[in-house]
């Protein structure tokens, strides 16, 4: 039974998404509870698969019994199982948040909206599990298409942002597919395990290196790596407040995970060919994105845009870890990726909450709003500590491990960039914090709206996740190292 868990985790949201138009045809009101139940079931299943993977070892699932390289294989190692648990858990929280926020009512559009949300989550879990490069392409496209549609929901300005996102994203997937084509032409294989056996000896070939670079460009657009990040701030500041946490927390992270899979599981760091050059390139782009993203965040006056640039800078931090070609850096980067998903989600939950409840979407408006909501302030303190990187949050331990990885690889510039990013991040979070808690001239008895329970649950769970990931960081990292151990790096 347990060996079918990865497929069940994926099929639960997919089947619900497909049956949503039928179920919601007469009564659109059932869509929201139905979606919530489906993602809750998915969370339970993914926790079960995480438990099964950590006890019995990785699951290699072959669809309808066709074994790879002919059949389609899903690889559920402890890295994939952890990430899927994070995806489904954050999915539940985002739906709860949307429930409590009482965003503009969707009316007759509830059916397509929740179908898209479920397809997004299903696509994410598929892209995490997929064991070959072509299926990763298909699932990335499922994720992206749902994301474009979700960004466009409010209409008006969001339509233009969504269209730009679509143009960039579709070019990104085209480049990724081109890279996959190069790999196939050079090796005749698409399965990750198969490729990793055929590639040694071929890494000098121009086709393999070209393919790798095309894949990097494609995924860099999708992960909003610094010079290619143009679509992200607009898309995130115009998308509906209840959807952005889902997009910001999960969609860009998936491309980072895929890129780590390609670098370590497909290619493996070795001295052959231009491999080390690729790793050095990844580190360089990571450094640029981390520092420049943080500097741009410092300049923003609008909360959502500031958090979006903060996310761009954190993509750079993860890439620095990935580019170190050692186990400390990789495990640190994957652990930080997990934390970053939770932190980005919390940041946009906060931004949406402040914008809809207090009408505060810029720093100045925030200073005038006199937010006296303990839930929002506690969440902000926790996520601020995490983003800056102070203990006991997961952000601190993640950054520490990436830093240790950089020092292990004698990469002092990368180590300096991590410290510099931390300082700049402290700069922009101090600004927000000052505005948030500044004592108002009016009395604090000004009307403070009641916080509904779904919002309180979401914020409490996110704070618990940020702190919990930090406190039990040894266990989480041990799980992730389990997945990287067979690579022998």
């Amino acid at each position: 039974m347990t060996e079918h868990l990865p497929a069940l985790v994926f099929l639960t949201p997919l089947a619900t998404a497909i049956s949503m138009p039928v179920a919601g045809h007469r009564h659109p009101a059932v869509c929201r509870p139905l979606a919530l139940v489906a993602i809750c079931c998915m969370t339970v299943l993914s926790v079960a698969s995480l438990w099964s993977v950590s006890v019995h070892g990785e699951i290699r699932y072959s669809f309808s019994g066709w074994l790879p390289p002919i059949g389609i294989e899903w690889l559920a190692d402890s890295l994939a199982a952890t990430m899927v648990t994070a995806v489904s858990g954050l999915g539940v929280l985002c739906l709860l948040f949307a429930d409590g926020l009482g965003d503009r009512p969707l009316g007759g559009r509830a059916v397509p909206y929740y179908t898209m949300v479920l397809l997004l989550v299903a696509g994410l879990s598929g892209a995490i599990y997929a064991g070959d490069l072509f299926n990763i392409f298909v699932f990335l496209e499922v994720v992206s298409l749902s994301a474009y549609a979700l960004v466009a929901v409010p209409g008006g300005r969001a339509l233009v942002s969504a269209f730009r996102y679509l143009l960039m994203g579709a070019l990104g997937t085209a480049f990724y597919l081109l890279g996959v084509g190069y790999f196939y032409a050079a090796t005749g294989a698409l399965n990750i395990a198969d490729l990793s056996q055929r590639l040694p000896g071929l890494l000098d070939s121009k086709a393999v290196m070209g393919g790798l670079i095309f894949m990097f460009i494609g995924l860099a657009i999708k992960m909003a790596l610094m010079p290619l990040h143009g679509w992200l701030p607009d898309a995130y500041s115009d998308a509906p407040a209840s959807t952005v946490p889902l997009l910001a927390g999960l969609v860009t992270k998936i491309s980072l995970l895929v890129w780590a899979r390609i670098l370590y599981w497909v290619m493996r760091p070795s001295a052959e060919g231009g491999t080390l050059t690729i790793f050095a390139l990844v580190t360089t782009f990571g450094i640029l994105a981390a520092v420049a993203g943080a500097c741009l965040a410092l300049r923003q006056r609008e909360l959502k845009r500031m958090f979006a640039y903060g996310g761009i800078s954190h993509v750079g931090l993860v890439l620095i870890g990935v580019g170190q070609a050692n186990e400390t850096g990789l495990a640190g980067a994957m652990y930080y990726l997990l934390n970053d998903a939770v932190m980005q989600c919390s940041l946009f939950v906060l931004a949406g909450f402040l914008a809809l409840r207090y009408g505060a979407s810029t720093l100045d408006e925030l200073g005038r709003a006199h937010v006296r909501n303990p839930w929002a302030i506690v969440t902000f303190v926790a996520v601020g500590l995490g983003m800056v990187g102070l203990p006991p949050t997961g952000g601190f331990f993640g950054k520490l491990r990436i830093l240790l990885g950089a020092l292990e690889a004698d990469n002092n510039i990368a180590a300096a960039a991590i410290v510099l990013t931390t300082l700049i991040t402290l700069g922009y979070f101090a600004q927000v914090f000052e505005k948030l808690v500044r004592a108002g001239t009016e009395s604090a008895s000004a009307r403070q709206p009641e916080t509904p329970w779904p919002l309180r649950t979401t914020m409490a769970a996110l704070v618990a996740a940020i702190v919990g990931l930090g406190i039990w960081n040894d266990h989480v990292v041990a799980l992730l190292v389990d997945a990287t151990a067979p690579l022998g790096i």
């Binding site: 298909v138 298409l145 474009y148 549609a149 466009a152 233009v160 679509l166």
Partner: protein, 125 residues
């Protein structure tokens, strides 16, 4: 330089692929009309699909269906079917992208009464 040109001319499929890709990218970047941008995007995606198909082609080979009575079929006699299968999926993905993008463009037109990027941005202020 001459060797490079010679190498390129011996693989006309790759030349065609590169031309299509660059042409599509050029249209996407330079045109200000949303539909024309989509045409460029479509050409880029088609060029990638074209590249995938040509990797499976062989001179003098036939469709990959083994007829009864043929003993010991050789791999050289048949076209590689896998790139074509990948292509089918890629075309489906391409059509889905086109559908979503045309939906977006039609809503942009209904909201702003224009398909020109400059005019739309002007109206947004």
């Amino acid at each position: 330089m001459l060797e490079l040109i010679e190498a390129a001319l011996s693989r006309p499929n790759l030349v065609a692929f590169v031309l299509l890709l660059l042409w599509g990218l050029y249209i996407t970047i330079t045109h200000h009309n949303y539909v024309k941008k989509l045409v460029g995007l479509y050409i880029v995606q088609t060029s990638v699909i074209f590249f995938l198909v040509t990797t499976g082609a062989k001179e003098g080979a036939t469709v990959p269906v083994i007829l009864s009575g043929v003993e010991a079929p050789g791999a050289g006699d048949y076209v590689n079917p896998l790139p074509q299968v990948l292509t089918l999926t890629a075309i489906v993905v391409q059509i889905a992208t086109l559908g979503v993008s045309l939906g977006l463009v039609s809503r942009i037109y209904r909201s702003f009464g224009s398909l020109d990027e400059d005019e739309v941005l002007e109206k947004l202020g």
